[in-house]
Each structure stands twice: as C-alpha cells, then as structure tokens.
C-alpha cells in the first residue's frame, strides 16, 4: 500500500552502508540461488498452517525438521499440554561464550478462503501488489533473476514463514563462503503463535536446556513503513473479549414491534460508542492507570523515528487519525481498545425487516508495560455494569433477561492474554545487536515497542533472558487478513540480515 516514493528516496543511501562480510556473502549466494530459495519457501507455504488444523500443523513441523536435517542439524519437536510442536535446533560454535536464539513461527492466522484472490495455500507470484493491479505471473526459469518488487501471495508469506527460509538460506550462504558462527545459535519455530502461544512458555520452562540463550531475537512482524530496517525493543500485550447484547427471545417483525421492543444492535452501538471520546481516547475509568511512563532513551527513539503518518494516511486512504496530532509511534506506546468485528442479524440480500434478537462484538485490547490483565478485565466489566447492563459471563437465562432492563454477556478469552514487555535499549547486548544489524542493513529505526503482540514473556520469564524483535517482512504484507504477501526484496534483505546475526 505504501507507494515506492519514500523507499526510492531513502534506500540507495542506506544500501551503500553494508559493511558486514556475512551479509555480503549472503547477497552473492542469494543472487546465484534465487529460484531454489523461492521454491523452498513456496513448498513451506503450500502446507496449510492455521493453528487449529492439527494434522497440517504437524506436516509443517515435519517439513521444517526435514529442512533443518538437510543442513546437517538435529531438530527436535517439543510440545506440552497438547500444544503444537516447537521445532528446535542448535548450531554449536566451539569455544563460544555466548548463545543467541532466533525465533520465528510457522502457523498463520485463521482465514476465509472466499476472501482471497488466489487460494491461500497455493503460493502465487504477482508482478505487483493486488491493490495496484498486480496479476499472477509464472515463476521465472532457474537462473533468471526475480524482480525484487514481485510478491508471493500465501498465508504465512510475511507472517511468519519467510524468516525461517531466510535463516536457513543465510546458514547455507555463510557456510559456502567459509564463514563461521561465533556464538552458539539456537533456532526455535513455534506452531501456535497466532493462537496466542498458549503453550510456549510451559514448553520453554520444561525444556530450559534446549532454549537457554543470552538473547532471543524474535524474527516476526514487518519492517518500518518507509521500508527501512527496524529493531523493536518490546511489544504490546493483548487480550480479547466478546460482548453479546440481548433483545427479544427471537427476532421480531420490525413493523409489529418496532419502537417498542428494544434493539440489541442499538444497545451494543451505544455501549461501544461510549467507550471512547470523539478523539479516540478511551474513557473507561482506570483504563490508563497502570501505564508505566517511557524513559529518556525511549522518548528520544520515538522523536528520532521518521514520521510516516502523512504517507500512511495517503496509502491507507485515511482522512483522519485517532488522538491527532499524536503520531503513530507515540500512540503505540499507549494501550488501545479496538472493535475487531461486529454482527447482528443479517445484512445484504438476506436482510429482513426484523428487530434482531442479539448483537455481538469482539474486541481486543493492546496492553503496554505495567498493565495487568486481570485488573484490565475488571475495569472493563465494571464499566459495562455502570452503563446499566446486568453483566454475565455465560448465556443469560430467560428470567435474567426478564428481570434486567439490559443484559450483556462479556466473555474474556480463556487464557487471559499476553502482557507487554520492554527491553532497555541501553543494555550491552542490545547495543551489539543494533551495531550488527546496521552493519548489514544501514541505519535502523529503533522503537521502544511494537504495536503488535509477540510472545516475549514466554522467553523472558522462564529463562531470565531478554528479547529484541527483528522483523523482515514488508509493512504492506496484509498480515492477519486476506491476500497476505511477501515482497521479494524483503526476503533478499532478510537473508543478508540473518547472515549477519548468525555470525555475530
């Protein structure tokens, strides 16, 4: 969605800054093996990877294990509590004093195939983004270079199978160039990140020897919106909940009962509308109480980050943003409250003249450092009560509906959610990761936190380690929605970046 104008402006200067020999070797290797690299990724993308699809999840894990074995590694599939397997492997560096972990996930978000321009698990090459009229093109013959602006469309292309192939290709490249890893390397590929990483922390806690590392680099998410490489030192947490409001027992004829029988869609609209002020700021009492303020280096990093709001608004067709004039990256350090989806009765050709019987909304809250999940749940529940609803956490009975003017079912996701984490940019390991990445990719945008949620606590809590997020995907990859895609140049850049990190 981002036009190339900014990228064209900035990238030549940045590309010249590559001083890392492993990244350089990776570039040469990639130029000689583009067809094979893309084919390995396509094979991986062709296996459906929705977290709940156990048989296909298993096939993904086994293919990744096979890819690791092909590099002479000895992968292990570990899981706890009936969770999807985490594929782990180690690359030992004799005499190394340090261990670096590289994480990615192979599962993808749920989807509705009808919304996709091409089947989500038939990886499809296009000559430009679909939004800009991209059409399907065949794979070039082996030996013919890919246009770096082409894109591969498939679930998982950007989020988050590309880093897996980037890491393994980088390993091929540094070996071919006779370069050595200088730290012990651990690889871990998770299979239920998009389902909330329900078992990751337990799996790590039960297998500490397999996961022990001085830092875990979480290779997930997109680079900065101007295509510049970024490093992110934390992530917002997240929690989801669902609200159901109730009208009559069944749908009622809107003529015979319209403006007498209460409309649950209107009740829901009133409740949702009341949660934010006109400027988009949450007005639920207590919502911001636990937010931990940023320190000076984090405030400086935000001030230094290129301001991309006007360009993003153009690209996203937006005429306004919430909490203006605050910018995107300042707002991402604050918690958010978002309506993910909403439904009541039927729309379109199936709509009929009824008063709906129920209305439904699903929401997510992004938490920032300091916010507790249980307390945030309570703040939301209390607020809905104070709006006059009798709040229940399961289907209300007929008598409950008769006895209360307004009833809302409020159900929080069973596992609660994920809290936010933030690593200090001043740590020596953080500074070294910054230097290494800049030697491969030029100046990077450093951000205190990403808006999205990644399972940092699953590593940090059981291992007492620290985490840094290292993204490679394009920002306009349609991550989490239909027509997910990966820009070829981002894969190429990712390979060079991974080569630098593997030899750090």
């Amino acid at each position: 969605m981002l036009r190339t104008s900014i990228a064209v402006l900035l990238l030549p200067a940045l590309a010249a800054a590559q001083t890392n020999p492993a990244a350089h070797a990776a570039k040469q290797w990639r130029q000689q093996h583009e067809h094979a690299i893309v084919n390995e990724l396509r094979t991986l993308l062709a296996i459906p990877n929705v977290s709940s699809d156990k048989p296909n999840i298993q096939r993904n894990a086994e293919l990744i294990a096979k890819m690791l074995r092909a590099r002479g590694l000895t992968p292990t599939l570990v899981s706890t509590g009936g969770g999807n397997p985490v594929v782990v492997a180690e690359i030992q560096a004799p005499g190394a004093a340090r261990t670096i972990g590289l994480y990615a996930h192979y599962d993808g978000q749920p989807l509705d195939p009808k919304e996709w321009a091409s089947p989500p698990f038939e990886p499809t090459l296009r000559n430009r983004p679909l939004e800009d009229g991209g059409t399907t093109i065949p794979l070039p013959a082996a030996g013919t270079p890919f246009n770096p602006e082409w894109r591969i469309y498939a679930r998982g292309a950007g989020d988050d199978k590309a880093p897996i192939v980037a890491m393994l290709t980088a390993l091929d490249a540094i070996r071919a160039a006779g370069l050595q890893t200088r730290s012990n390397i651990r690889l871990a590929f998770e299979g239920e990140e998009e389902a909330g990483s329900a078992n990751l922390e337990n799996t790590i806690a039960a297998n500490r020897m397999l996961f022990a590392a001085d830092v875990w680099l979480i290779c997930d998410g997109p680079v900065y919106q101007n295509r510049q490489q970024s490093l992110i030192f934390g992530a917002r947490g997240s929690m989801t909940f669902e609200i159901t409001t109730y009208g009559a027992r069944t749908e009622l004829h809107s003529g015979h009962y319209g403006n007498w029988a209460p409309n649950p869609a209107l009740e829901l609209a009133r409740l949702l509308a009341s949660m934010k002020d006109r400027n988009g700021r949450v007005v639920i009492p207590g919502f911001y109480d636990q937010v931990e303020p940023l320190g000076p280096p984090e405030r400086k990093a935000i001030a230094d980050a290129p301001r991309i709001d006007p360009q993003l608004m153009r690209d996203f067709w937006l005429g306004s943003t919430d909490e203006s004039p605050k910018g995107l990256y300042e707002l991402l350090t604050q918690p958010s409250l978002n309506i993910r989806g909403m439904a009541s009765s039927r729309i379109g050709a199936q709509a009929s003249n009824v008063i709906p019987s129920t209305a439904f909304a699903t929401l997510d809250i992004r938490l920032v450092k300091g916010m507790d999940i249980a307390r945030t749940q309570q703040v939301v529940r209390d607020y809905i009560s104070h709006q006059g609803f009798h709040v229940v956490d399961r289907e209300p009975t007929a008598d409950e509906r008769r006895m209360h003017p307004k009833v809302a079912k409020v159900v929080f996701a069973e596992r609660g959610g994920t809290v936010a984490r933030r690593t200090s940019m001043a740590l020596p390991i953080a500074q070294e990761v910054i230097r290494t990445v800049e030697s491969a990719r030029g100046p990077v945008v450093k951000l205190p936190t990403m808006g999205a949620t990644v399972p940092l606590e699953a590593f940090e809590r059981p291992l007492g380690t620290t985490t840094i997020i290292v993204p490679i995907a394009n920002h306009d990859d349609n991550q989490h929605t239909y027509n997910e895609n990966l820009r070829i140049q981002n894969l190429w850049d990712g390979i060079e970046l991974m080569a630098a990190l593997l030899t750090m």
Copy 2:
C-alpha cells in the same frame, strides 16, 4: 409465544355477544361441515406458494378459480408487468347501492424446509402448538368435531390462505340458509404480497372496473394478542436504507495500527447510537415533523385497547421496552427507526486481530400518516452530514476518503418505500364495518394503525377508495417464520365473521 391464560380469561364473555343472523347460520353450517371445510383448506395449502415459484403460483391461482367456479362465480386471472395473477370474482346483489371488496393473498413467505418440524406444504394437524409439545394427529372422521385448539401447520395456513376458505365457506353457509348478499361483493386474491406487491397497484389501475368498491376489507394479519377480534384502520409505511462507514483501505493489524487508524465499526456505533435518546426516541431533527396527530376516536381506541405489554414482555423475555411507559399500540402510531442488521469484519472463530476496513448497517423506518418518503430520506441524510460525515450514495473514491475525516455511504432502497395510510374511524362505512363485525364477534379491539406495512395504497390511490384491515389468524401463528400454523377456532371465527361481512 403468548400463553393461553389471557384468552381463557376473556373469550367466554365475548362469545356470548353474537347477534348477527348470517354469522349464526355460518356457525351451524360449519358445525355440520367441519371435515369438508378443513379438507378444502388442506388441498389449497398443499400447493407450494412461495411468490417466486411461478409454476406453483399458477397452480394456486387455478385452484382458487376452480373453487370460485364451484360456487357458480366467474373468476378472472389478471396480472401486469409479468406479476403473479390476481384472482378476482364478483357476487352481484340486484339493486345494491354499494360494493364491498374482500382481499386476501395466496402467496407465502420464502422458507427453508429444514427449519420446519413437518414439510411446509404437507398440511399437518397437531393437538396443540409445537412450542407446547404438540404432536401430529390424524384428521378426525367426517362427522366427528374438531377440537378448536388443534392447529394446522403449513406455509400460508395463517398468512394468508385461511381467509380465502373462510370467505367461500361463509358464502356456502348464507346461501344454504337462504340469506342474501345486500351489497355487490368483489373478491381479490393476490399472489405476490410477500414479495412486496410490486404489481398490485398497476394491476388495479389497469383494471379499475374489476376492482371498483366503496371499501376494500384487507383480510390479512393476526387478531389481537389476547385472541380478541380486531379491526385496524391503517398501516405504517416502510422504507429501508443502508449505511457504510469507512476506515483504512484494507483491514489493518490491530496491534500495528490500533489507536491510530480510525475504526469504522466504532464510527458506525457512534452514528447509530446518536440517532436515539436513552429512552429510544429518535432525536434526528425533523424526524417527527410531518407526523399527523391522531384524532379523538383514534386516541380513545388506543386507550380502550387491552394492555398486553406485560404478557408480551414475559413471552419475549424482555426486561424493558422503548419509550416506556408508553404501550405498544400507542407507539405503533409513531414512526420507528430500526437497525435490521449490522456487520463489520468477522466474529466468532473467524475473528482476527484487525481494525475493520468498513462497517455496515441496514435500517428500516416505519412511516406514519403524513410522512413523506423523500423528505424523510433528506432528514436522515442531513443528520448524518451534521454528524461530521461526508455523505455519498455510491462507493467513495480513494481521494474522497482521504479528503474527509469521516465518510458514510447512505443508500435508500431503490423503489423508495410505501407510505402509511389511515382511514378515519369516524367514516360512516368504518362505523358500519365496526357494527357488523361486533354483531358477529362481540366487542372488537379497534386500532388506528397496524405496525406492519400492507399494500393499502395499491387500492386507495388508483380507486380513490378506503381500506380497513380485518384479520382472522391467531397472533401466535409463526407468520413469516418456520412452523406457520392456524388455530382451528380462528378459522371457525373467521367463517362467521365473513358471513356477516358478505351480508352487510
């Protein structure tokens, strides 16, 4: 859904009031022919009657014509614009100074057979309502009386084939008793009422001589919720419209952009919530301006109507009603604004952590006498503009979305809608219909308007005539949904009522 308690309480006293000789004759005739009457209805119900099913619609029309010819009448099938045939017939009364029209419709609502307890076009007798554990029973032998609480289940049983059989049985009865019709009678049976009566007005306008009458009695809809006979002197009109609000061009990751990118579901919620006050009254300026006040007889009629709100609330599982303490039948004389359906992104297992790209609501407005469709559209459009939206009537362009902080697409249904009609209860013909019906059925509940919309204007506009709605079906007939049914006693009552009207 209404329990029988109210009915048991009130009906014995009312039944005693029958003074009409034709109604009395009809009762005697019915008691001697119950088996044949029910069988004629069952034969008619066995022909599928969904308005769009042209071959079966034709079979229905031809069977009704045959039933009319069996009574010595000369039916005509008329249609315009490819519409389904209206079956018309006349009963001339030599020297009559007046013509009375009796209307019913033989088509039924669309349905999904899977939702029905027995096939919708295999008329099935049950010993009580399905909701109360009713089971299928065989037809009693000829000569054995039917239990009046038994019910016939079939599409069209209550809405609206029962009045057709009631009229023809009443004609048999009065002839057998040697009674005469004193007015010319016109019968008209429509075949596309449930599809919106798209051709009825044109058919009447093109065949004025076949339809000319001093009053048309629209025999459709259910009697009052306490089972008491009702007469309704008008109907609300209706119009529908759809609102779409816009966020970013595509769904965005709610982590990466949540509390920066505006959420169209929240914008829609704010807009919908703002349209009514806490008590459910519409606050759109000008919405009520054209409402024509009720006259004294209408106000008295509403005050006299038995108050059934508490029982309805119990049956519908409602803990409150809009605009309380006003009652249902007072509110139905006011216009309504109703959210029919609402949707944004996905819910349930397919929900994902996105900021939706669009949000959608479909609404209907029920109009009352005096309200103009075009002006009501303008009032709504102006209101949405004043809420800060740039209002368009087709998909907004990228630049429109970029240039305006908020954009709403507002699309009104192409055919505009149906205006409300109301016949003055003070008219001599209205008073005479009331007297006639009360002589057959005891005190009736008189209502200035029904909440729903019926095609009164199709008769009133081309013919300059007036209309009164005369229902016979039970209120709990599951009209418009699955398991539609007719309570036997309502058919018996309907026959007596029709006999009185035929001899008016």
